[in-house]
């Protein structure tokens, strides 16, 4: 029962703050709701016993990227931004994408024959000790099974970083 209540709490928070993030007019409020959504998602990761993913979500997305987001928001002049058009007007495209996504998700639930939140691992300490340590499992799959994609991704990120530095540098 507890796992179900927690799941619906996290899932509900994530969805509600996602909606609020899109509809708020104040950019900082949007950022706060995005943070809430990310944290709620992290909670669901934790419930799935993926504690490494949980903490990486918090450190990287909330503690790293969102801090930079908020930092940039504060540098932008909000009064000017408020007078500009804030919402994209592509209603029909948006409706189509949303419907397609909803169809996909409902098809997934229909084929699995389960309700959301069903079949979650129950929170008992005894079951947790039997699982292999999570961070080791992640490291194993990254550096053994998927070494090449991992390296390619990191080189890609390095390229982006160096590109940003080159573009930001003043031409002497």
């Amino acid at each position: 029962m507890l796992d179900k209540v927690l799941f619906y709490f996290f899932a509900g928070t994530a969805v509600a703050s996602g909606v609020l993030m899109v509809t708020r007019r104040n950019v900082v409020h949007s950022a706060i709701f995005l943070i809430t959504a990310l944290l709620a998602t992290a909670g669901i990761f934790l419930q799935l016993r993926a504690e490494f993913l949980f903490i990486v979500q918090i450190i990287l997305y909330v503690g790293g990227i969102m801090v930079l987001f908020v930092f940039v928001i504060m540098l932008v002049n909000l009064d000017v931004a408020l007078q500009q058009i804030q919402f994209a007007r592509q209603r029909w495209v948006g409706l189509f994408v949303a419907l397609a996504l909803a169809a996909q998700v409902s098809f997934m639930f229909w084929t699995s024959g389960k309700m959301p939140g069903q079949g979650l691992p129950v929170l008992t300490a005894a079951a947790a000790t039997k699982l292999p340590p999570n961070s080791e499992a992640v490291a194993r799959s990254l550096f053994e099974s998927y070494l090449l994609p991992f390296e390619i991704a990191s080189v890609l990120l390095l390229v982006a970083m160096i590109g940003a530095v080159v573009m930001a540098k003043k031409r002497a």
Binding site: L2, K4, I35, I59, V67, M74, P133
Partner: protein, 456 residues
């Protein structure tokens, strides 16, 4: 029993009543601890400036924190007119909540851990305590004041810069353990018989500097630089909200000190803890009596001061403090002397050593604060990006190489020093090289417009 929410609540309480109780205890006691840390800081500052510090409330100002707390609680709570009310309300709570939550991952002794043993322990503590920055940034923004916004901007820039260096320092210490679990980290140091501060001194130094910057302490307290920004992000906060920020700052200090203690200074281990497990008498085992002697010494000093107190109440109070010290000394003595109480040795003495190390780390923070003048913002950024981050990356690399060499020669414990010391020396040489290059073509470019923006 049909109501699922009540059922879930009962289930939750059954499974987690112990950590819950510990958490409530921490939340209740922490403000008091923080209050006394502040008193120690004021006393220390007074001592270094040849003054007496708070002396009026209680003997030697021992009740000052309580008076301060009452004053802060009954102060008027002011919210600026154009402030964003909700965010203004949320920000200090966020700050203090993150700091308190990260305390949950810490282990004060082998037997005392607030949360259950989590295998991402150290990452949890570091990651969650970093969330406190949102409290500062949002608070600065919500106050609708230029000083506050400047402080918030500085704070986030500072945290983002120094978190990288701190993370790299943690990585080079974690290379020795191969685990993120807090208990296993300390056990690894116990098995090796050597603390990681000896094996990775450069990482410890990097973490020390970065942790001062992350907790916004002097000499890196630019977010609240009173000579430039009134008091930075908390300019518009008063009364209880202000004290929440204060609480968060000191709780963060405790967190970073605990992380450094766990990773680098052997956690709850006594110096030469391996000798304790050996059979027979060893001279180094007399170290077990150090905690007792320390307590007795403080008690005797208090007794000696008792007759010099001006009023009868203050004399009684001093007497009580001395008694408390003697009782603590007795508690620490029993597991060493009485054979039946031996199982409690690790718990009681572990707690003592952990708290002692954390206190020394915090003492060092205070010492620095009263010794070194504040940095300029561009100097701070340069130190972070141009010196600490390259240094810590080189250090991770060299520690890794040293570890591979160590496993090649089958080195363990103190033997590992044979490979890690050359690595540390090479890192030091690299550091001086970086500094030399910096000096050559660093200074004139620093006055650019980009960094002047934060200068207030």
């Amino acid at each position: 029993m049909t109501n699922p929410i009540i059922q879930a609540t009962i289930e939750f309480l059954k499974a987690f009543w112990a950590p819950l109780l510990c958490g409530v205890a921490i939340v209740a006691v922490l403000p008091l601890i923080v209050g006394y840390i502040v008193l120690v800081e004021r006393k220390l500052m007074a001592d270094m400036q040849a003054r007496l510090g708070p002396m009026r409330v209680g003997p030697h100002g021992l009740l000052q924190p309580i008076a301060d707390a009452v004053k802060l609680l009954i102060k008027e709570d002011i919210i600026p007119d154009n402030a964003d009310k909700l965010v203004f309300w949320l920000a200090p709570v966020l700050s203090v909540g993150a700091a308190l939550l990260s305390l949950a991952g810490l282990a004060i002794g082998p037997a005392f851990q607030i949360a259950q043993d989590i295998n991402i322990g150290i990452l949890f503590v570091v990651g969650v305590s970093a969330l406190g920055i949102f409290g500062i940034v949002l608070g600065g923004w919500a106050s609708n004041s230029h000083y506050s916004l400047m402080g918030a901007l500085r704070s986030s820039a500072q945290l983002v810069s120094y978190e990288t260096a701190a993370g790299m320092a943690l990585v080079s210490a974690l290379l020795f353990t191969g685990t993120l679990n807090i208990k296993s980290i300390v056990e690894a140091q116990s098995n090796e018989g050597i603390w990681f501060v000896m094996l990775a001194p450069v990482a410890f130094f990097t973490y020390l500097v970065a942790s001062i910057a992350e907790t916004n302490r002097a000499p890196f307290d630019l977010p609240e630089a009173e000579s430039e920004l009134v008091s930075g992000y908390m300019t518009e906060f008063s009364g209880f909200r202000w004290s929440l920020y204060f609480l968060a700052e000191y709780a963060n200090m405790i967190v970073v000190a605990s992380v450094a203690t766990t990773l680098f200074l052997g956690g709850w281990l006594r110096p030469f803890s391996k000798v304790h497990e050996l059979p027979g008498f060893h001279l180094l085992n007399l170290l077990d009596f150090v905690p007792v002697l320390l307590m007795v010494a403080i008690g005797v000093y208090c007794l000696q001061r008792t007759p010099k107190q001006p009023t009868r109440v203050q004399q009684m109070f001093m007497f009580a403090v001395a008694g408390l010290c003697f009782v603590l000394g007795l508690v620490l003595l029993v597991p060493v002397v009485v054979p039946i109480a031996k199982p409690f040795y690790a718990g009681i003495h572990g707690g003592f050593w952990f708290i002692l190390k954390v206190s020394l780390y915090i003492y060092f923070f205070m010492w620095l604060r009263f010794t070194i003048p504040r940095y300029r913002f561009d100097q701070l950024m340069r130190l972070g990006w141009h010196f600490l981050i390259p240094l810590s990356i080189v250090n991770v690399l060299l520690v890794g190489v040293a570890l591979i060499a160590g496993s090649y020669f089958h080195l363990q414990g103190w033997g590992l020093l044979l490979v890690t010391t050359p690595a540390a020396i090479i890192t030091l040489i690299v550091a001086f090289l970086i500094l030399a290059i910096e000096k050559e073509h660093g200074a004139p470019q620093d006055q650019s417009a980009a960094s002047d923006f934060y200068a207030g």
